[in-house]
Symmetry: C2
Subunit: 337 residues, 2 copies
Amino acid sequence: MSKPLNVAVLGATGAVGQEFLRLFTDRKFPVGELKLLASPRSAGVEIEHEGKKHVVEAVSAEAFHGVDVAFFSAGASRSREWAPAATEAGALVVDNSSAFRMHPDVPLVVPEVNWDAVKPTDKLIANPNCSAIIMLMAVAPLRKLGTIKRIIVSTYQSASGAGAAAMRELEEQTRTVLAGGEAKPEVFPHKYAFNLFSHNTAIGDNGYNEEENKVVEESRKILGMPELRINPTCVRVPVLRAHSESITVEFEGAAPCVECVRETLAASPGVRVVDDRANNVFPMPLDASGIEDVLVGRIRQDISDPNSLSLFVAGDQLLKGAAQNAVQIAERYFGLG
Amino acid sequence: MSKPLNVAVLGATGAVGQEFLRLFTDRKFPVGELKLLASPRSAGVEIEHEGKKHVVEAVSAEAFHGVDVAFFSAGASRSREWAPAATEAGALVVDNSSAFRMHPDVPLVVPEVNWDAVKPTDKLIANPNCSAIIMLMAVAPLRKLGTIKRIIVSTYQSASGAGAAAMRELEEQTRTVLAGGEAKPEVFPHKYAFNLFSHNTAIGDNGYNEEENKVVEESRKILGMPELRINPTCVRVPVLRAHSESITVEFEGAAPCVECVRETLAASPGVRVVDDRANNVFPMPLDASGIEDVLVGRIRQDISDPNSLSLFVAGDQLLKGAAQNAVQIAERYFGLG
């Protein structure tokens, strides 16, 4: 039995916050004292965890005293505001926001891919963008089979990436449309029921939106390949909580054989190969929802280029794309499991 | 006023069949006698068109006597069965199925792209696969700006591609799931509500499914580029009637400038550029539904390759992807409009 750790969750009432609590139980994370923190707006909310009622506290510097690990999932501005207080109080901060991801002194970590980026003295570790994590779970292991030169990825992203309100919006809008009413967008700028749209983050000068630029920059940092060529197209689809991605990977020289890729991925922790050509069973977001593994399939030699191969992945955005990856970081950091 | 044409629609009770009738009115197609044909199972159904009730007849060789143009949309096996009788009766057959598309003597036509493939003596013209049509509406005009070398495309395909029953299945399953029930797949092999899946056609030896292989082969035939390299990934998403596609086009040499592409596409018949970076408004299937133009946006220089550019399209699968393209073929053939 590991020594209990005092844990704080900032953003406890959000979609990712809820997953943290479930994961502490599922993964037997040795939670000592548990502090659920949120904005003053959500303070006072009661959340039950393992049979005990916890009252959500408004976040404050004092709240981090005695905390061993603080999971932040309340957006970039709140992370910027409270990370210094938490680390000064001695907590390890695992930050789910984009606030510090590209900071040169902050490790950006997918434990299965680049745990070596973490030093024991680090007090702040950034959890990557969900689309980047899910893509890299499938792509990073392929480095054993060849040198990756370029990645082309089109995403099929779920509502959960924009939080619990977005998930409710998808359900509510769909209910309205099925009843013959008209969808009224609130969380997203576009109608969502039976629709899809380009990721609703600002388009930069390069013509790519913020989500796409995150996928490029974060993947390069995680892989330690600052020049890697990546072309992402990020799209929101009417799915609740798992992201899917259509990925083409180009290698220096001939692409590795399909069977080699299948074997390598099947042996990769956190990856489950779902690639049943005979029965047409491949990764689907509904199958990926609520599970910890990232599903990978449609593994095939790209018929348009001998140096490329294509695959299709689905991973739970709230789990491996967010809370689970953060908990895994803490587990490794504290030498658990 | 054009001389009226006697018209038969085979598959009149299907999703595409219904669109034919609407298009005859919208496009003022000069319908003389109208024969609605279907399998014996659907014979006797009454369909109103322009204030007149038509009784659906069971298809037979005799039904084609006196018909000038027959639109076939009842699946490949029915097309194979009835096309000879219809052409022998003197009708022009515009066939929406895959039955004859790759036959070397049958023109496979997107009127805006390759009308020159049609000879006045042709009595059978094939209507291409919907995903191929919608992609080519955006890609074919780019040939004016450079030599296309390779296309990588990931699709976001709607229910309508599998017919009216599939559209109902998506709605019914979603209603069931929102009411707390469990989705029971019938038309598709997988759960569809708030889910997506790899296109449910058989996977060939090359690892690509039939839909993907159609996109490759048909696009090559339509463009007259038998060696064109194309890498498609076809995915069904929970959207009702418009297909979207994320496309990367590689050129011999540097990709044309974004503004040149925008201008060229804006001047292309049947294409509407929807590419508002400032307001994050790009092609969406809901906006493409029920309209004749294919929407194109997210036009950008591929940041991973100076020779490539990326774009995102959405087009109504039942209209330009099926019935409308077929009606346009007939209009051009008979010199209408």
